[in-house]
């Protein structure tokens, strides 16, 4: 892939990254846009024309978009869409405007202020909004780049909040915990503290059966279990009301 190869992407007919993002929005595309510049790369995730997530190095969400938009002369290509957690809630036009403002203010040495998330932010769901501990947990989960989706269930397996529209996975997560409890009885041990299900496509489902709730995380193939667990540990030890 290179900038001169129209089939792979890149500056097609002189289109900038920002313009190409707007084109994907207008065309209501569901795809992943892989952006590369020198030895760096990032991804932007579209679902039916909505920019829902992005990743660039350690950054995810809007911050990743802002970083990618600062790259000079990147090459890019369109690949298959992915089922992703929606980290980005601002409309694309706002993000592009914000990115341009940040560029200007960065040059002027001033700090930028983020706009408040829209009502469709995962942090604005009714279950999360009025529960500080739950809000903190969701914030922490969203900040982990490898998380594709999260499922928070009470100990009876009833959904508290989830980022995906998949209605079958919560039951499966609950059953994995039930299986763990049955295995615990046989082995006469304590737990399970964690259940890890590796998938044939390289992704992973990680389940934490806690005292107050069950946390299920769909992680991409780059995830490190120990790293994800370490990031969650401070919030997992808090008592989250049922």
């Amino acid at each position: 892939m290179g900038q001169s190869n129209d089939n792979a992407g890149g500056r097609i007919g002189g289109v900038s990254l920002a313009s190409f993002l707007q084109m994907l929005e207008q065309e209501r595309k569901t795809c992943t846009l892989v952006v590369e510049s020198e030895d760096r790369s990032g991804r932007l995730y579209f679902n039916e024309g909505d920019l829902i997530d992005a990743e660039c190095g350690e950054d995810v969400g809007q911050e990743a978009v802002y970083t990618l938009l600062t790259w000079q002369g990147p090459s890019f290509r369109v690949t298959e869409g992915e089922d992703r957690l929606r980290r980005i809630t601002l409309p694309l036009a706002h993000i592009l405007l914000q990115a341009a403002t940040r560029q200007d203010e960065l040059q002027a040495g001033e700090e930028d202020k983020e706009q408040a998330p829209t009502a469709s932010s995962p942090l604005e769901s009714p279950a999360v909004r009025n529960n500080p501990a739950l809000r903190k947990l969701v914030e922490t989960i969203i900040s982990i780049p490898e998380v594709r989706h999260y499922y928070l269930l009470n100990r009876q397996g009833k959904m508290i909040t989830q980022s995906s529209s998949n209605t079958k996975l919560p039951d499966f997560i609950t059953y994995s915990v039930v299986s763990g409890i049955q295995i615990r009885k046989v082995l006469k041990v304590k737990g399970p503290h964690r259940i890890q299900l590796n998938l044939e496509n390289g992704d992973m489902l990680l389940v934490f059966p806690g005292a107050g709730m069950i946390i299920g995380l769909q992680l991409d193939g780059k995830a490190s279990v120990s790293s994800v667990t370490a990031k969650l540990r401070p919030v997992l030890t808090r008592q989250v009301p049922r």
């Binding site: 079958k168 499966f172 039930v178 295995i183 615990r184 082995l187 304590k190 399970p192 590796n198 998938l199």
Partner: protein, 214 residues
């Protein structure tokens, strides 16, 4: 069997492995290699739950290559060999479970190839009588009994949740082996399914629903 024992012996030398077993849904524990601390462990229960979990995963679109259950003293790793059998490996809590799973997975893949080769030899000689038996079952199982079985499954799902579909498949296979698939034998199936319902109240409700179906 020799291949299975060899697999378990190779897994046993991986640091941290306390025991391993190959479990088949129909045949039970085919082969075991356990340290004395685990010698009395009922691996049937572990195996059944791991296989059901893998099957349920398949039903919700998850192709699971390995499952790891981390407890305080052990980590239990389940690696599917085929749709009805699983390699169970039990490690110390401090073991490098990723290494164990990767190594066991590699060895299991070799085993799977050997099993498929063996299966292709045995099923080619058994296939005709089995398919003839299945055709007879299909003729016997008319629409009415299928409706009854669907309703029994729904009643079971009310008692034990979404795993009912997987459990029902298991017990239907055994029920069909024991006799013809007729409405008169559905109570017998219901009695078998009652074993899966631990809660007495849910078991009572299930029995009442089945009575109303029949």
């Amino acid at each position: 069997m020799i291949g299975m024992r060899k697999l378990l012996q190779e897994i046993a030398v991986i640091p941290g492995v306390t025991g391993s077993c190959i479990f088949d849904k129909k045949e039970g524990a085919l082969c075991k290699n356990l340290h004395q601390d685990l010698s009395g462990t009922n691996l049937e229960t572990v195996g059944i739950h791991l296989i059901r979990l893998l099957q349920m995963g398949s039903m919700v679109g998850l192709a699971i290559s390995s499952s790891h259950f981390r407890f305080d003293r052990y980590t239990v790793i389940g690696i599917p060999l085929d749709s009805d059998s699983v390699l169970i490996t039990i490690c110390d809590a401090q073991a490098n479970c990723s290494l164990v799973a990767t190594t066991a997975g590699m060895l299991a893949a070799d085993m799977r190839d050997d099993m498929e080769r063996d299966l292709s030899v045995t099923t080619s000689t058994e296939q005709e009588p089995e398919s003839e038996a299945e055709n007879n079952d299909e003729k016997e199982e008319d629409t009415f009994i299928q409706v009854q079985l669907d309703e029994v499954e729904q009643a079971l799902a009310s008692a034990i949740g979404p795993v009912a579909a997987v459990v029902m498949q298991d017990y239907l296979a055994r029920w069909r082996q024991a006799g013809p698939s007729t409405s008169a034998r559905v109570p017998e199936l219901a009695d078998m399914l009652l074993q899966e319902i631990g809660n007495p109240e849910l078991a009572r409700i299930f029995s009442e629903r089945v009575r109303s179906i029949l």
